[in-house]
Symmetry: C2
Subunit: 337 residues, 2 copies
C-alpha cells in the first residue's frame, strides 16, 4: 500500500512538485488562487501527509525535541513533561520522551538516539555521569537545556528549583515547631546537585538556628528494603530524632509506607516533612507537610529556552533560571504528643 507522495499530488493537480511544496510551506504569494484551491482539494481528498523524514533530511530541522527524564513514573517527571509538551505543542514541535532510569548508560544511549534522529534539541535531567558527552553537544552549539540537576562544567541553559531554599524552609519549619533532632533521609548525595543542595539547606537551617549537625541523623538510602530497620534503629538511639526530612518524593513515600507498616505514628512519635510534588499527599491523614516545586512551569520554561536556542542560535546567552519552592503545611510536623 504505497502512500501517496508529493509527486502524485502534483500530477493530480496538474502542477509541478515545487508548486505543491510551495503550497505546503504556505508560500501562497506567488500562486494563483485557482492553483491553490486545486492543490488544497487534492490534498484533502487523498489525505496526503508529507513525509517529514524527507523534509527533515533536506531542511535539517525535524521540529522535534527530545526530553530525557530520570523516571517517568515519578510525578515530578510527568509534570515537567506535561509542561514541556504543552509548550512545544503550541509552538509546532513534537516531543520524544525518554526514560533514563538514572542509568548513565541508558542516558548516553538516548542522547545518541536523539542525535541520530536529528532532534533539534534536548532537555535533560542528567544522571551527572555523561558530562563529556553533554559538553561535546554544548561545544558544537547543539541546543541543550538542563533541568532539575546541574552538570559540572556544562555551560548551558538550565531551569532548576531553589533546592537549598526549599530544604531550608522545610527544616526551619520543623525547628520552629520545636524539633531539635532532625534526621535527613536522602539518596546518596554526591553525584546529584539537587541532593547536595537540599543537604546544604538542611545544614544551613541548623546553623541558622544554632543547632549542631549530628551525622548519626544523616542517612543515605538508595534502596528501601532496609528502611524499616533503619527507622527503628533511629528511634532506638539514646537521643532519637523527633522529626524526619525526606529529601525526595520516593524516599518520602517509602518512609511513609515503612512508618505505617511498623505502626509508628506520625506526627506523635515522629514528625515528617518531605520534598514531594505528588498532589495526592494532602489526602493522607494527616496531610503531608511538604515542599513542592513549580513543576509545570519548570517544564514550560525549559521548553521556551530550548525553542529559543533552536530558532535563534546566536541571539541567546546561556541563562540559568532558579525557581522557588513552596512549603505546604499539612499536619505531619507537630512536636510532642
Amino acid at each position: 500500500m504505497p502512500r501517496v507522495k508529493m509527486e502524485d499530488i502534483a500530477k493530480m493537480a496538474g502542477v509541478s512538485k515545487s508548486t505543491v511544496s510551495q503550497y505546503l510551506n504556505k508560500r501562497y504569494e506567488f500562486m494563483s488562487a485557482e492553483t491553490k484551491d486545486r492543490i488544497e482539494k487534492v490534498i484533502r481528498e487523498t489525505g496526503y501527509q508529507p513525509n517529514t523524514l524527507a523534509r527533515g533530511l533536506k531542511v535539517k530541522r525535524t521540529q522535534t525535541i527530545g526530553v530525557i527524564v530520570a523516571n517517568i513514573l515519578h510525578y515530578y517527571s510527568t509534570a515537567v513533561c506535561r509542561g514541556i509538551e504543552d509548550y512545544c505543542n503550541q509552538h509546532g514541535y513534537n516531543v520524544i520522551i525518554c526514560n533514563a532510569d538514572d542509568d548513565p548508560g541508558k542516558e548516553r544511549g538516548y542522547i545518541e538516539m536523539l542525535l541520530a534522529k536529528q532532534a533539534d534539541g534536548i532537555i535533560c535531567v542528567t544522571t551527572g555521569e555523561n558530562n563529556e558527552l553533554l559538553g561535546d553537544l554544548v561545544r558544537r552549539s547543539y541546543p541543550l537545556v538542563l533541568v532539575d540537576r546541574k552538570a559540572e562544567g556544562i555551560e548551558t541553559d538550565g531551569v532548576y528549583s531553589n533546592n537549598e531554599q526549599g530544604a531550608f524552609d522545610a527544616v526551619e519549619h520543623l525547628i520552629r515547631q520545636g524539633h531539635r533532632r532532625i534526621a535527613l533521609l536522602s539518596p546518596e548525595i554526591h553525584r546529584v546537585s539537587t541532593r547536595r543542595e537540599r543537604y546544604a539547606g538542611y545544614a544551613k537551617a541548623h546553623r541558622t538556628h544554632g543547632i549542631p549537625l549530628n551525622d548519626t541523623y544523616v542517612r543515605f538510602v538508595d534502596e528501601f528494603s532496609g528502611l524499616k530497620a533503619l527507622l527503628q534503629e533511629l528511634l532506638r538511639l539514646p537521643e532519637p530524632p523527633t522529626a524526619l526530612f525526606c529529601s525526595n518524593d520516593l524516599s518520602t513515600v517509602e518512609t511513609l509506607r515503612a512508618l505505617k507498616e511498623t505502626g509508628i505514628k506520625v506526627p506523635e512519635r515522629i514528625a515528617i516533612v518531605g520534598f514531594d510534588d505528588s498532589p495526592w499527599t494532602d489526602l493522607l491523614e494527616p496531610p503531608l507537610t511538604r515542599v513542592v516545586q513549580r513543576t509545570f512551569e519548570i517544564g514550560a520554561r525549559s521548553a521556551e529556552r530550548l525553542l529559543l536556542k533552536i530558532e535563534q542560535p546566536d541571539a541567546v546567552e546561556p541563562t540559568v533560571q532558579i525557581m522557588d519552592c513552596e512549603l505546604k503545611i499539612g499536619g505531619t510536623c507537630r512536636f510532642g504528643e
Copy 2:
C-alpha cells in the same frame, strides 16, 4: 558545525560509502577483518552517528512507534507507557509518547503527526471519536494496537482489562459487606467502552444478588467542582447510599478529596471502592479498597503485538487480549459503624 557523515567515514577509512554501510548493517561476511577494524576505529574516533532520517527514507522503517494516551498525568497511562517503553527498548524500537487529553482533535493531530514521521506503528488509547481515521489505518494494514478502550468496528489487535469483571468484583465485595444501596460515580459512559463495561459490571453484581438498580444512585461526573454538593445530595436522600463505587482513578481521588474536605467519614458514614491503579492509595487511612489493572503487562503485551505486526505483517491475525483485574482489599468498605 556540519556533522560527520558516512562519506567522511568512508574517506577517512579509505573505503567507499557502501562498505561503511555494510559495516553499519553488520554485514561483516564479505569484509576483510582489516577493513572492518579500520572502519570501526574511525567511527569510534569521530563519534559518528548515522542519520536515521536518511536511513528511514530509504528503508521505509524508522524503528519508532507512537503511543497515544489519554493523559500522561494518570498513573495508568504512565505505567502502560513504561511497559511499552521497556519492551520496545529491549527490541530496538523507540517510542514517541503523545498526550491526547481525551480530545479527539488532538488525537487526530497526533495520528497524522505519527504517520508523517513514518512511525512504524501506533498503540492508541482512543477517544472513540476518530474511528474513520483508525479504520483507514487498519484498511491500509498500518500496524495498530488499541489499549484500554475498544473502538466500534475497528478490527485490529487490542489489549484490554476485563472491566466488567473488575467492576463486578468491586460491587459484589460491597454487597457481601452488607451494602445494598450503592452509588456509581463515573464519567459520562456512552463514548468510552471501558466505562460502559464497568457500568455493566456494576449492574450485573446487582442482578446477581437480586438487588434492584436505582437510577438515583448512578451519577455521571465529568467535572469535579460540583462534587461536594453531589455527595451531600446523595447523603440527604431519604434512602441514602451506604457505599460509593468510583469507576476510574480520577473520580476516585476527587471523591476522596471531597469526602475529606466535607468531613464525611470513610467508611463509617459512607464506604468507597474505586478503580484505581495508583500505588499510593494504600497509604491512606484506611487504605483504599480498589480494583487494579495489570498496567505494565498491558503495556508490554500491546508492544509485543505491535512489533509482531510490524515485523511479520501477514503472519498475524488480529488478537484481542483481555486482562483480569484484581480487587485489593483495604479498609474503606466496612458496613455500618
